[in-house]
Symmetry: C2
Subunit: 341 residues, 2 copies
DNA sequence: CTGAAAGCGCTTACAG
DNA sequence: CTGAAAGCGCTTACAG
C-alpha cells in the first residue's frame, strides 16, 4: 500500500492506465477504442480509470500507428494580403463545414494556398497531415482537381461535376436557380432582364444562364447577348460588368446577378448611375449570404443553404475516404424575396 | 546494377532515402532538418535525392518524436447552426491569421466550441493536437482563460489584458478609438452624441467609452447616461439598443456604435424610424469590416487593421510557445471617413 | 477475453 | 562528421 508519494504522478500514456488498472497496454487500447474483444467489466474499469485521471490518447502516436490523420483540409485562397468582401462566400461556408464536423471525430485544417501552386496537395497527403480535401478554390480549379486526381487523393469539390474522371461534388441546383431568378423578374413585370455572370468558363455560371434563358423563352422573350456580361465573382468585376451593361443597354429594367457579392457592388453602381432599385432596375442576387440582408435595398436572392452544403461536403468526403464511393450531391435552392427585386 | 524492377518503388520513409543515398537514417534526418552536424556535400546529396523522389517527411511520426504538433488552434464559437453577420468580425480575422501563418511551419486548426464547455482545451493540449490557442470567444471569456491558465497552456487572447495572472494579449487601442470616433462626430457639429456599446462587462467596451467621454469633456460636453446603451455585439442586440436610444433620446443627432456589425443593423433601425443618415443622425462604427463599405450609406468607422492583428496573434503566440515570453500588443486604430458620419 | 511483441516513421543522445 | 540503437505512444496480428 505504498501509494503515497506517487499521488500526483500524471497519467499520460496507456501504460500508466494499464498499470493502474492491472491490465496490459493492449487491453487498455482495445477498451478505449471499444473493441468487441474486451469484456464489459474490463472495459468499464479501464474507462473509469482513464476518465478519473482525465487521460487523453496521444493523437500523433495514434495517427502514426493507424496511418490516418482523421483530418480534413479546407483549401481556399483568401485574396492575398487584405481580406475583402470577395471572400464572404467561402467564409460563410467554412462556418457550415466546421459545424458539420462536430462530433464526427475529424479535425479541420485551414489551408490557404497560392492558386497557381499545386504542391500543397502532395505535401499534405503524403506527409499524413490530411486524409482528404475540400476544394473551394475557383481560380485554376482544373489544375487543382487534376493534381488531386493524379495523386488519387480523396476530395470533394464545390460546383457541378466536370466531364472526365469522377470525383465527389456538391453543387447547388444552378439551372433551377437561374430559372427562379428570371421567373421572379418576369413575374414583377420586367422585360429587359440582364444577366451578370461570374466567369463564363465556370459550369455553374453556364447552368444558371441556361435556366435564365429557359425562363425567358417560356415567357416568350428571346435571349439577347447584349444583355449579358461577365465578371469573376469579385466585387470589382461585378461593378465593371454592371457599368458595361448600363452602357450597352441603358434601357434595361432588371438584372440577375450570379452572386450576392457582385450584386452588392452592382447596387452601388446603379445608385451612382441614378437608377432607383427596384423601381428603375430590379436586382436579384445569388447565394443568400448575410450581407444581402444588410445592403441597401435588402437583396432579393437565390439562397443556397450553405449549412446544408457544408454538411454534405463533409459527409460525402468522409464517405469517400472510408468507402471510396464517389457521389454528386445537388442541394436545393430557393428564392428569397426582399426589396431589390 | 539490378536497379530495374524496383523503378517505381515509392520513396516513403527516411530509410528509403537513406538507402538511395548510401547513408544512415540518422544522417538523412539530420540533413533534412538542416543540422549543423552534417557536411555540406552530404546535405546536398541527401536533399537532391529527397527532392527528386518528392519525399515528404511523415508528420505524425515527427510530432510523436518531437512531442510537438506545430499546430495552432483557433478557438471560436460560430453561432450554432446558421451563420450570421454576427460572425463576420471573427471570420475576417481568421483570414488574417491564416495568411500570417504562411511559411511559419505551423498548421491552423479550426475549433468550433460550445462556449459553456471548456473541455476542448485539455483535449487538444494533452492529446498533442495543438501547441497553443488563439482565443476569440467573447462569450464566457473568463471561463476559457482561467481554464487555459490552469493547464499552463500557451495561448493568446484578443482584447485588452484582464487583471490577475498574465497571458498574451493583442488588442486595439480602444481608448484612442473611442476618442477618435467622438472627436469626429463633434467635429462635424454634433452635440447629442450617443454611445452604443457591446457588453458593458467587456474591457474593450469600457475603454472605448472612456475615450468617448474624454473627447466629450475636452469639447466641453458632459457625458450623459441617457445617451448610452449596450448590446452584445450581435446584429439583433444592436438593433434593440438603437431603438432604446431613439426612444430615450429622440433628440440625439449622432451615435458611436462599438462594432460595424451592430452599426449596420443600427442603420436599418434609423432608416425605419425615418431618420436620414448622416443628415439627421450621424453614425460612426468600429472595426473596419468590409461590410461597412457596402451598406447604405457606407459606414464611417474606426478601423482595426485586422491583417496586422492576425499577424501579431500568430507571432506572439509562437513566441510564447518557444520562449515563454508573455506579451501585450496594442495595434493602432484609425478613423476611416465614408458617408455615414 | 487477454498479453507479449512487433511495427508505424521519425529524432537524438551516445559512441566513435 | 556519421551510424547503431533507443525511444516517442499508440495499434494489432499472433499466440494462448
Amino acid at each position: 500500500m505504498k501509494e503515497s508519494g506517487t499521488t500526483q504522478r500524471q497519467v499520460k500514456t496507456i501504460s500508466d492506465v494499464a498499470r493502474l488498472a492491472g491490465v496490459s497496454k493492449s487491453t487498455v487500447s482495445r477498451a478505449l477504442s471499444d473493441s468487441p474483444l474486451i469484456s464489459r467489466e474490463t472495459k468499464e474499469r479501464v474507462r473509469a480509470i482513464a476518465e478519473k485521471h482525465r487521460f487523453q490518447l496521444n493523437v500523433p502516436a495514434r495517427r502514426l500507428s493507424l496511418k490516418r490523420s482523421n483530418t480534413l483540409a479546407f483549401v481556399m485562397h483568401a485574396s492575398c494580403g487584405t481580406f475583402s468582401l470577395d471572400d464572404y462566400f467561402v467564409l460563410e461556408l467554412v462556418s457550415g463545414i466546421s459545424s458539420a464536423l462536430h462530433g464526427r471525430g475529424y479535425d479541420l485544417l485551414l489551408l490557404n494556398v497560392d492558386p497557381s501552386d499545386d504542391s500543397w496537395a502532395e505535401q499534405h497527403l503524403e506527409s499524413g497531415k490530411a486524409d482528404g480535401f475540400i476544394l473551394m478554390t475557383s481560380t485554376r480549379k482544373r489544375l487543382h482537381i487534376s493534381t488531386l486526381l493524379g495523386l488519387g487523393a480523396p476530395f470533394v469539390a464545390w460546383g457541378p461535376p466536370g466531364p472526365g474522371p469522377e470525383y465527389c461534388t456538391v453543387a447547388g441546383n444552378d439551372r433551377l436557380g437561374g430559372r427562379l431568378a428570371a421567373q421572379r423578374l418576369i413575374g414583377i413585370g420586367r422585360r429587359r432582364i440582364a444577366f451578370l455572370g461570374g466567369a463564363e468558363a465556370e459550369a455553374e455560371v453556364r447552368l444558371r444562364r441556361e435556366g435564365y434563358h429557359e425562363a425567358l423563352q417560356e415567357a416568350g422573350f428571346a435571349p439577347d447577348p447584349s444583355l449579358e456580361a461577365y465578371g469573376d465573382f469579385s466585387t470589382a468585376s461585378g461593378a465593371r460588368a454592371m457599368r458595361a451593361l448600363l452602357e450597352a443597354r441603358p434601357d434595361l429594367d432588371a438584372v440577375f446577378v450570379c452572386s450576392d457579392v457582385m450584386a452588392v457592388s452592382s447596387l452601388r453602381v446603379l445608385a451612382e448611375a441614378g437608377r432607383r432599385v427596384p423601381e428603375d432596375v430590379a436586382v436579384v442576387g445569388y447565394d443568400g449570404l448575410s450581407i444581402g440582408l444588410h445592403c441597401w435595398p435588402p437583396l432579393t436572392t437565390i439562397s443556397q443553404n450553405l449549412p446544408l452544403v457544408g454538411k454534405l461536403l463533409v459527409e460525402n468526403l468522409i464517405q469517400r475516404i472510408d468507402t471510396g464511393a464517389v457521389s454528386h450531391a445537388v442541394v436545393p435552392v430557393s428564392l428569397v424575396v426582399r426589396n431589390s427585386g
